[in-house]
């Protein structure tokens, strides 16, 4: 070694590189297992359902943060992407169970909701679980494809036009899904129908029902933490800086060599992937999905989380997702006024603190922790 690196942090030394990349994955797995085996039995079914909703909302809020927060675009299509992902995944698991296992109940390990491992060689993970994971990824990918199509017009559109297009997209998705053909339930009929044809039988206006029950705290928290890791890493990478630069000043970003079009579309694609996964997870928990219920009202819920948490703050979005999921339960006695209060909060927030509670900063970068975080030098040491 002839050259002495002034800062160890800069070197891609393998011994630092590997744990750094594996640690978040381990943390995700650990937290997910903890939620599944410790929290769920201890907290009971009501709190577990709440924890599940929190995780799903975290995924949604963080995914929307990538577009509305980092990139400064305004998407109102979250519910549409959820619907796309949810229906796609539901079609895979529902028809897949018939095709692969000949019954609507695929084998599942103890990590899944209906998991009954007795007498099976691998009690943790069954092939049904793998199908479920594959379905979630497929749902995410289909949603990402939809995100690409919606993101494309953003080359020519700014801010509010884009918002309208995403809203319109959500409505188109709703109408198309609601006019799909009825769900097939006859095993022989399903076996005799080719896959592309099966994908048009999505339940129509009744929604897709009888979806296998897979989603547990394990799967949602695993997905939530992985979403957080991706979002955080992205924000700290050159990618994230490109996103942020577009948000700050599009013209200046272009002048600095950021291909704004490409990055806007990328933000859309990545964000809608996660929204699609969230939709898939919900579909396999509720066991049904109905595009009619995934209107723009649902998108607004997520937008409120992102705006209140801070446009661009991942931890802010997480916090807002948690608080806004629990709050309605605590405020049940004033259920009618819940949305009135939210709306007022939104307006007052925009007037008093337009950047949201945390702005682009993360929770640990404000308040008493601020100095320590600033003093530690290179950012992004650990994971979440």
């Amino acid at each position: 070694m002839t050259r002495v690196a002034p800062q160890l942090d800069d070197g891609p030394a393998a011994w630092r590189f590997v744990p750094r990349n594996l640690a978040p994955l381990g943390a995700a797995l650990g937290l997910a297992l903890l939620m599944h085996f410790v929290f769920q039995p201890a907290a009971g079914s009501f709190a577990s359902k709440l924890a599940l909703d929190i995780a799903v909302n975290i995924i949604l809020a963080v995914s929307l943060t990538m577009v509305n927060g980092f990139t400064g675009q305004f998407s109102m299509g979250t519910a549409g992407f959820m619907a796309v992902g949810g229906y796609a995944a539901a079609a895979v698991t529902y028809y897949g169970s018939f095709r692969l296992y000949g019954s609507p109940n695929p084998p599942a390990g103890i990590l899944s909701a209906f998991g009954d491992p007795t007498g099976l060689p691998l009690p943790w993970l069954q092939s049904g679980d793998l199908m479920f994971v594959a379905a979630c990824l497929f749902g995410g990918l289909v949603a990402a494809g939809a995100g690409y199509i919606v993101g494309l017009p953003s080359l020519r559109l700014r801010g509010d036009y884009l918002a309208i297009v995403t809203l319109g997209f959500g409505e188109i998705v709703r109408v198309v899904l609601q006019t799909s053909e009825r769900r097939l339930s006859n095993a022989e009929q399903i076996a005799g129908t080719p896959w592309p044809k099966l994908l048009t039988h999505l339940g129509g206006s009744l929604g897709f029902t009888s979806i296998p029950y897979f989603t547990t705290l394990f799967w949602v928290w695993l997905a939530a933490v992985l979403t957080l890791v991706v979002a955080y890493r992205m924000k700290r990478s050159s990618y994230g800086r490109a996103f942020l630069s577009i948000r700050e000043d599009e013209v200046a970003a272009e002048a600095m060599g950021v291909c704004t079009t490409k990055f806007k579309v990328r933000a859309f694609v990545i964000s809608s992937f996660f929204a699609g996964v969230a939709g898939a997870l919900i579909a396999h928990q509720v066991q049904s999905i109905n595009a009619g219920e995934l209107g723009f009202q649902r998108s607004f819920d997520v937008i409120i989380m992102v705006v209140l948490g801070g446009m661009g703050s991942i931890s802010g979005a997480v916090l807002a997702a948690g608080v806004l999921t629990v709050l309605p339960e605590l405020l049940r006695f004033m259920a009618d006024y819940r949305m009135v209060v939210y709306a007022l909060a939104l307006i007052v927030m925009m007037i008093v603190r337009p950047q949201g509670l945390f702005g682009v900063r993360e929770v640990w970068e404000v308040g008493p922790f601020r100095r320590r975080a600033a003093g530690s030098g290179a950012p992004g040491g650990g994971a979440t």
Binding site: D160, E171, I172, T179, L346, I347, M350
Partner: protein
Amino acid sequence: MNAALQTFFETLINGLAVGSLYALVALGYTMVYGILKFINFAHSDIVVLGAWIAFVLARSLGYATPDAAAPWYAGLLILLVAMTACGAIGYAVERLAYKPLRGAPRLNVLITAIGVSLFLQNTGQLSFLFGASPQRMPSLLPDTPLLTVFGARVSLVDVVGAGTAVLLMVGLEYLIFHTKLGRAMRAVSYNTSVASLMGVNVNAVISFTFVVGSALAAAAGFLYSMKYVGIKQPADAGWVMLGLKAFVAAVVGGIGNIRGAMIGGVMIGLLEFFGAAYVSTQYRDVYVFALLILVLLFRPAGLFGRATVEKV
């Protein structure tokens, strides 16, 4: 042959009747956009409020019972009161929510507008106001067919509705292009800072724009509920769709362009009804948004708008 002609004319009449209402709503969007450069998401909720205020008024005047025949001036009275009330609400919304954000980034104003929209929807739904259950608008006009064109009935409601809409639009046209106030509005929309240097009271003009836009929206809401008597709850998706289609009309006509909004509204109405009648009813919302996306892709400034280049 005759049946085909009848379908055609029925569709045409419905399309024109609803399209003229879209045009009324679109005018509010386009005027606000022309001046403040943001989509007033709360505009569709003003439409809803107009319909509900009209309903409450009609009920309290005792026209809700089926046998109580409303006098001819009842509709006009209700129309004027609803327009005044919504004008006041529009003024208040502008003053309280949008004025503090003058000069703020557009995204913030947009979010505020969504907040105002959610606020109006959910406040209107509270039980002491309008409640959360759909209601039926009493018919203030006798349901008499005026004439039949190839078997298609032209009913009084359609004629009065479209006629009122056209009258209001002619009035607006006069206001904007032939009065001093209208010249001030056009000046502010063209260049706000220069207009204020020329002695135009910009804030007053903006407030006035909101009042006019909201009054037109209220009229549209009332007329719409006369045609489709089932008024839905304030937070119903159907209302938002009405507002969105009107917005699409404004964009198609070239946002900021008054005449474009009128033509755009009628176009959207015709597209929706002809699409529903001749292609498929289920996709009636899809046509409108598909048209929006096409227009934005190929003529982002709208059919009648002029493209502007953003200067740095």
